[in-house]
């Protein structure tokens, strides 16, 4: 039984790594059939596979198409498991608002960061691309977001990041801010008052986690509105 369970978890992870939606679906169905805890299947199967994908990306063995397809497989598996997830609640997740700043419609980088942070246990709120500055402020305020992630690929729109950071402060919102994208350098990030900069999606996970390392958060128990990828421990493991 234990061996069978381990085998299924491995198959989930492998399906993600191999970009195989069909096998992710099949292995997820096995999870249900064998009455394995679906949370465990996500954490020790699908998400574990995605961790490996992140590693392959960092080592430049996987690139953008691979990550997108691995994520498709991961989310396919989660869709199968979702109806069976217990309704009892989870640890309060770190809330992240993410988007591409106004004037720019390039969103692949942002999508990669979203996938990786989701997998790392953050609760992601994606505003999409070409997002007006005010939308970031309003959403971060409403959600009491812990982190706002701003992305742009264009030099014409990078100054918008500074406007957003200033407006967040004016509105009294204390969310941390992480920035990234083609033209963004660590120096620019620092100059505009960002709390963090990440050069790619893998680094974004490390930086986001480090931003909350020393913060002790109340571990509020509440019913999740939706279950993201992984049971969370305050965004920090």
């Amino acid at each position: 039984m234990q061996a069978e369970k381990q085998d299924i978890l491995n198959r989930l992870a492998q399906a993600v790594i191999n970009m195989d939606i069909t096998r992710a679906n099949e292995a997820a169905a096995e999870v249900i059939r064998c009455k394995i805890d679906p949370y465990e299947a996500i954490m020790d199967g699908l998400a574990k596979g995605m961790d490996k994908v992140n590693e392959l990306f960092e080592n430049e063995e996987y690139f953008v198409p691979e990550i997108l397809l691995c994520a498709d497989a991961m989310y396919a598996g989660i869709e199968v498991l979702r109806p069976y997830l217990p309704k009892e609640g989870t640890w309060n997740k770190k809330k992240v608002v993410i988007g591409v700043v106004k004037g720019d419609t390039h969103d692949i980088g942002k999508n990669l960061v979203k996938i990786m942070l989701d997998n790392a246990g953050f609760e992601m709120h994606d505003l999409g691309r070409n997002v007006p500055y005010a939308k970031f402020i309003d959403t971060a305020g409403e959600l009491k977001a812990d982190l706002v992630c701003l992305s742009t690929l264009m030099t014409t729109t990078m100054d918008g990041m500074q406007v957003i950071i200033e407006d967040l402060k004016k509105a009294g919102i204390t969310s941390r801010v992480m920035v990234g994208g083609g033209p963004i350098s660590p120096g620019f990030a620092k100059n505009i008052g960002a709390d963090g900069y990440a050069k790619n999606a893998a680094e974004a996970v490390r930086v986001a986690k480090s931003l909350f390392q020393d913060v002790h958060l109340p571990l509020t128990f509440k019913t999740p509105e939706f279950v993201s990828v992984r049971k969370n421990h305050g965004g920090v493991r």
Partner: protein, 350 residues
């Protein structure tokens, strides 16, 4: 102090191509939509009228005397001419709004472009002709074409397209064949108009796809493009921005004679492909041109020259990618001054 040139940009380029002596290396910041600033136009006004695009580039050349005059607004112009719908912000480069190929069925509607008629290609052709007429004796007019992979991505939607490298390679090749033919048609039209067309392939950057995919899906078509350009006895120029360390060797195998590169150390590039190709780059557009100051930019230009001026197959002082439209005038002047001073031959950086 101002450093005077002894040759016109065109004489300099011709001498370099023929292997003759020159006063200095070519200095060619990627002035694209930035040219609109010389006539205080918005980018939308600039890129939707051949008259505006031509006149602004003429004025820009008279202002800065840079070595190459590029005609460009966005890498998706060719895809636009083939059916992709664009959004035109008031004062920024056009961006893809709705890719043309929504389903496999749409492939049937796809055909190679007619540059005289389709999309904004007539705008570009008009701009090229105007520039050739007025400043063509002094400088080469260089229209920039989105290469096959970049054009295909803009026709299909980049995210969908790059996933299809795995899920539908046949569709990818079908698209690549038609876009390659479009690129060739456009090269013909530009050459006829007196321009020297060059190609940009940013979607094939090493930040995006693997070397394996580059070899399978990008390289064969680039080879076709450069062999076509060579049939006119013109040099092939390939620009890819972002990280290129992983793909630069493939780039050098494409038949391109000049590689314009962005996020890679020039020493490394020189070591990897300097025996095969001329290098061009890579002052930072953001940290240098836009956010830097004359002092920072001078340092960056000197650093590039120090690293690459001894490249076996030559070196062109340039920015790594497009000069941002909001680049301050004094930064542009600083770039060109530094180039004129420190790229003088023989090189002396003191």
């Amino acid at each position: 102090m101002t450093y005077k040139d002894e040759m016109t940009p065109k004489e300099r380029m011709q001498a370099i191509l023929q292997g003759k002596a020159v006063d200095r290396l070519l200095v060619s910041p990627l002035i694209l939509n930035f040219a609109s600033r010389s006539l205080n136009m918005t980018v939308r006004e600039f890129c939707t009228s051949g008259k505006n695009m031509g006149n602004a580039n003429i004025a820009c050349f008279k202002q800065y005397r840079h070595d190459i005059v590029y005609i460009f607004s966005t890498t998706s112009t060719l895809a636009e001419a083939m059916g992709t719908k664009m959004h035109f912000p008031e004062d920024d480069a056009p961006q893809v709004e709705t890719p043309f190929i929504q389903t496999r069925e749409d492939l049937k509607k796809l055909k190679p472009v007619n540059p005289e008629k389709d999309g904004r290609l007539p705008v570009y052709l008009d701009a090229v002709k105007r520039c050739v007429d007025v400043i063509g004796k002094e400088v080469f007019i260089v229209p920039v074409i989105g290469a096959p992979f970049t054009t295909s991505a803009a026709l299909r939607g980049t995210e969908t397209f790059i996933k299809e490298l795995y899920t539908d390679p046949e569709l990818v090749h079908t698209l690549m064949k038609v876009t390659t033919q479009s690129v060739k048609n456009l090269i013909d039209a530009y050459v006829k108009a007196g321009g020297v067309p060059v190609t940009v392939e940013p979607v094939a950057t090493g930040s995006m796809i693997s070397e394996k995919h580059f070899r399978e899906f990008v390289l064969p078509y680039l080879k076709e493009v450069y062999s076509h350009i060579h049939s006119y006895n013109l040099p092939g120029v390939l620009h890819i921005c972002g990280k290129t360390k992983r793909v630069i060797q493939c780039m050098a195998e494409s038949g391109a004679d000049i590689l314009s590169i962005d996020n890679i150390d020039l020493l490394e590039a020189k070591e990897l492909v300097g025996g095969k190709v001329c290098l061009m780059g890579n002052v930072s557009p953001a940290d240098g041109m836009l956010k830097g100051n004359p002092e920072i930019i001078t340092t960056m230009v000197k650093e590039c020259i120090a690293k690459a001026s001894d490249n076996h197959r030559g070196y062109i002082v340039a920015t790594g990618c497009e000069v941002p439209i909001k680049t301050p005038n004094e930064n542009m002047v600083a770039f060109l001054e530094a180039g004129r001073q420190f790229a003088r031959l023989p090189i002396s950086l003191n």
